[in-house]
Symmetry: C2
């Protein structure tokens, strides 16, 4: 294991500056500050230098030089990670932001080759320009970078139909811990020529290698889309509705998000321009979207018909179908602005958990009262991708409570929520990853055999502990 | 590395018999024969014993006991593998065939938990009984077993829409090289709690662990299906047609298979009951199928309309849409009986290759004349999953040539075909895997960095070389 650099780094940084340009070696605290600030304020990064290579070869040079000098590195994309995986705590920081070229878009192969630093929205735009869809959609898409999305196996609102980030990748280019480059940038839909090495780097948070480029899968671009905001009596009704819509629409059901009243009201209270969807308030809401790349049928008519039947069955108590792009955008803001709006309600303790889809109502039925019992006045704000069994089980502090005192209860709520999740054969880290935030939680709950396998992988690929030490598993 | 067992195995086998029952320890040559016969006659397996455990715990006991005795093991499912991965060459054979329980089917979660020895067709039937679809379809589905499908990352005719076997798995239970069991049988759609360990065992052909059970993804069952058999002028027209049908039907395009005239004629000549699709013969054919889980539109009408436009554009020169299940089944036999029919035409040399989808016509345009030039009278029989860029580039011997002499040219044709594939950034092993058949080819063509990573993984997970030694990579 490498230690945090304490020796004089000047010769190393000079060598790197000679290769990547002195202007891309940042050591001034004010230049480095944006890379070291964690979005929620949970962490303050520390680093002797922020390095900004411009090519894969420069990344390889940096990693090789640092390995030679015994200096560990932390890779960073858009610095939007929610578990601290992108934060250095004394290591050298390697920003991938300048590797932002889209190398190739092929609408026949339905592939796109991108560098790790491409902002997700740019990837979307390039796909659309070629008449295709890249379906990874997450709230931070305006600033997150694809390399980070892949190394954290991002999820988001389209997993129901298109899968997680891992499933959207055909090939990778990776800088290994010793500075070698593994070129696995294949554009192939089928390839069983040996072990599928890209899996080692997808979702491993930069601890086994640094992703520098990727071949992404594209999909036919939807030509019809219809969005509905629905009131449902309870989570079980939401689940029944999910089954119904999946049965009616099949692959055309591309979004199914559940929200509790508190979150929706919080958005309406704090986010300018968001319009109330119904005159009445309800306990639970669903955002459902159909989209399809075919014009062979009338998607809006199918939505209307399906919702009519759902209302008759009592699964839906109120419904509005967007009549315009503006109305659809408003519905999406009710869901996507929730984390932002919640910041205005004081401290929040967050859990990114999943259970089998069928058990979401049971999970909420157990976790909500257990948390309320632990802290009277607590305001739970559960929402998320119920079609994937993934709930963002967020908790806003009681009104008037000291924020720091509430945040101090994080461990307490972790134990309550995660004990229930693990008892239900769920995951304590559904889509945000482990990073440092959940490393001890993972160690606490993980099957010892699985944890041993993770350590063996780390030892096999990064024996010196040069890459993102202390993330995911203890170094 | 463990050596082929030569010591007296009696005490080991007695201990195993004590645990799994003496009737499940086969040592009589005639009892063992079916496990040691490779389908194409390319290999003759050798083993001191065939072990037939009935539970995951018994598999773990066997692997632990063998590891303790320094005796390597080879796992085997349905013995349908095409690259010899399931064949022992002196090692003890562990058959998973008795682990054939379907533990759970959940139509809400859309998951199914199955043991490794389930025959693929049984998995299909259990999914259908629950109103769902398990979409892995390969020619051997009546006898192959799901554990083998997963450990070889099987492909097949539905990859275009549903992905390879790897993408159809949510969780695994695996016996490790030292006999420990890793329980990763999660039914979760999202799970980023540490490294995704199941990826280590999917597609690694039993060299890193033995899959004993899996949680599979299910999909909404299609309620409409329409099948067409088409004549196309050439592979480029097939590709243009693929683009058109994908554009019109989106996700409803679930099959797109290309066949050369020789293969279709061979099926018609040798397979009883298969009916000629057109009065005229053509150089190239396509089998296209639309299927969808929604009743929202008329799939047959969409197929008719799309094919009408394709004929006007010259992409299709003749077309027939199945008017009954019987006609559809006949169309499928023209494609699926091809390997069987080819056996009647003497020796065949096979290549299971892939290139980027857009380059399939170029690949055929280069590989066909190169092979013809190497052996006048050669009868190429290319067919396959053009929607995935995967061509089964099979070559039937010239009429009248000595079969053995032709098979002796396998190396020669490997070099011709694989050189072109690698030059086109393709794969020499698209869906059948490496096993022993292509181990030297992989070593010849693989990127040294990638090969080094494979060896590191093997050393990390199976340091003693106890599991399927010599498969995929040299032991």
């Amino acid at each position: 294991m490498l230690s945090t650099p304490s020796a004089d780094l000047a010769p190393l940084l000079a060598a790197i500056a000679g290769r990547i340009g002195a202007q891309h070696v940042l050591t001034d605290p004010s230049d480095m500050a944006p890379y070291l600030r964690e979005e929620r304020g949970l962490y303050q990064g520390r680093t002797p230098a922020v390095l900004r290579p411009g090519t894969s070869e420069e990344v390889a040079f940096i990693v090789g030089a640092c390995a030679g000098a015994g200096v560990p590195v932390v890779p960073q994309g858009g610095n939007t990670g929610l578990v601290g995986g992108q934060m250095p705590f004394g290591e050298v920081l390697v920003s991938l932001a300048r590797l932002d070229r889209i190398r190739n878009v092929d609408p026949v192969d339905m592939t796109m080759t991108v560098e790790a630093g491409c902002i997700l929205d740019k990837v979307h735009e390039a796909a659309e320009a070629a008449g295709c869809l890249f379906p990874l959609h997450i709230a931070s898409q305006g600033s997150c970078r694809i390399g980070g999305n892949l190394s954290s196996n991002a999820g988001g609102t389209a997993v129901l139909r298109y899968g997680n980030a891992r499933e959207l990748v055909l090939g990778l280019e990776v800088v290994l811990a010793d500075g070698r480059v593994w070129n696995g940038l294949k554009r192939l839909r089928k390839n069983n020529a040996g072990y599928d090495l890209k899996q080692l780097f997808l979702g491993t948070e930069g601890t086994l290698g640094i992703i520098t480029a990727a071949v992404l899968k594209l999909f036919p671009r939807p030509v019809q889309r219809t969005t509905a905001f629905l009131a449902v009596p309870d989570p079980q009704a939401a689940l029944d509705l999910l089954k119904r819509l999946r049965g009616e629409a099949g692959d055309a059901l591309t979004t199914f998000e559940l929200m509790a009243a508190f979150g929706v009201e919080t958005v309406l209270k704090h986010m300018p321009g968001v319009v109330r969807p119904f005159r009445d308030t309800h306990d639970w809401y669903v955002l459902a979207e159909f989209s399809t790349p075919t014009r062979a049928f009338d998607l809006a008519a199918l939505m209307e018909e399906s919702l009519g039947a759902a209302m008759e069955a009592g699964e839906v108590t109120d419904a509005v179908i967007a009549a315009s792009e503006t109305q659809a955008a408003n519905m999406w803001r009710l869901r996507e602005d929730m984390s932002e709006a919640q910041k205005h309600e004081g401290g929040s303790i967050k859990h990114d958990v999943s259970v089998p889809v069928s058990r979401v109502p049971e999970f909420l039925g157990r976790a909500l009262p257990a948390c309320m019992a632990a802290l009277p006045g607590l305001r739970p704000c559960p929402f998320g991708h119920v079609g994937d069994g993934n709930i963002h089980f967020n908790l806003s502090q009681p009104v008037g409570m000291e924020k720091a005192a509430f945040i101090g209860m994080w461990e307490t709520f972790n134990r309550i929520v995660h004990d229930i999740v693990v008892d239900m054969d769920g995951s304590i880290a559904a889509e945000h990853g482990i990073g440092v935030l959940k490393r001890e939680e993972l160690a606490h709950y993980a099957d010892p055999v699985g944890l041993d396998l993770m350590h063996r992988l780390k030892a096999a690929l990064d024996p010196a502990g040069a890459l993102n030490p202390g993330k995911v598993i203890a170094s």
